[in-house]
Symmetry: C2
DNA sequence: TGAAAAAGAGTGATCACTCACTTATATCAT
DNA sequence: ATGATATAAGTGAGTGATCACTCTTTTTCA
């Protein structure tokens, strides 16, 4: 932990311990005592850095949510075509998953509990994809379908595979399959509804 | 509730109340007192029908899980080609979702907590799809890719759309989009990896 | 030596579950 | 039919355990 003060180190240890336990056992099922033990600190120390267990859980979710959205947006922006954007987004997403799998899995498995608490105006991974698709439909690059439906199905191609990796249905880095995911997502987007 | 004894009616009321609350607030966040109030019975009555809150939650999950798997298997069996099986499976799945949306949403949102507790040998929705895809690959009907990966991505096309309906990203019955889902899933399966 | 950080016993609230009891319903002898 | 009795269904106050969070004390270190 180079260049990290003692306090910041403690805070990071708390977050990492909480993250691991949240993924393994669920947020509600993880106690503050367990977090403290896993982080090798006292229970009270958690509250020097976070006002509550809920805020600790929410902060980590929102941090990753926003950062991922910004990364995806930067990845797709330079490319002119949706086909190229698709590949760039998929690659960026898989890289994020592989870089910090625990954080990624936490974000993936707890969307339903935190998504409603995302403040308005926060960069949003789904919106990045949705808007790129919407523009491509308007430009006639792909068939004009229901945008939300197309976005959901295309995202699902990658997201469900990631979910099954969380469940242990297969191993190895997600990035190994970037080409397949991109081709599959593109195939979905090319389908003409009805 | 035709042909339902008083006891069975009470049991059904408990299950329905629990289901609604579990979907709206989460299993861990729902108290037995709330379930009792919503079902218009006393808290103690829950324990005449279920040994614990956990078993109540697990029973409902497993019941739907097994029944869905059997329905999907019956839906795909008569069809010879994977293309036809795909359409049949997608249609069956969407019908189940539309028929009892609360139960469906409960199953969808709580897979990660219950999937590890599914007894070996239980009919499994994912396996039905996986095996159909595996046979089609062996028969040369579709390109020979990683079976788990192909299954995950194809399933994701429908499942993620269903998830976004839970989140309120769009409305109306899932069945309205059966043709699109089937075409999109088929497009994914037709992609040649690498 | 003073302020920041960490400790960990303590606290009040919550919650799943129990249990002694009441009420409703079914069974059956007269 | 009627009353007696057995069984099932339902009740809700009570209980013990748990847990997030607090507070006073102790340690660390600049």
């Amino acid at each position: 932990m180079a260049g990290m003060g003692k306090a910041e180190d403690t805070k990071a240890r708390i977050e990492r311990a909480a993250l691991t336990l949240f993924v393994a056992r669920g947020v509600a099922e993880t106690t503050t005592r367990e977090i403290a033990m896993a982080a090798s600190i006292a229970e009270g120390t958690i509250y020097r850095y976070f006002p509550s267990k809920e805020q600790l859980a929410l902060n980590m979710f929102l941090g990753h949510h926003r950062a991922l959205a910004e990364a995806l947006d930067e990845a797709q922006r330079p490319h002119p075509s949706l086909r190229a954007k698709t590949e760039a987004i998929v690659r960026c997403y898989c890289d994020w998953a592989d870089r910090d799998w625990t954080l990624f899995a936490y974000h993936l498995l707890n969307q339903h509990s935190f998504l409603i608490q995302v403040p308005d105006g926060t960069p949003n991974p789904v919106n990045v994809v949705r808007e790129a698709i919407g523009r491509a439909m308007a430009a006639g690059e792909i068939p004009k379908n229901n945008v939300d439906l197309a976005a959901a199905s295309a995202i699902g191609v990658v997201l469900q595979a990631a979910t099954y990796k969380v469940y242990g249905r297969f191993e190895g880095p997600l990035s190994d399959h970037v080409t397949f995911f991109a081709a599959a997502a593109w195939a979905v987007l090319s389908v003409k509804e009805k």
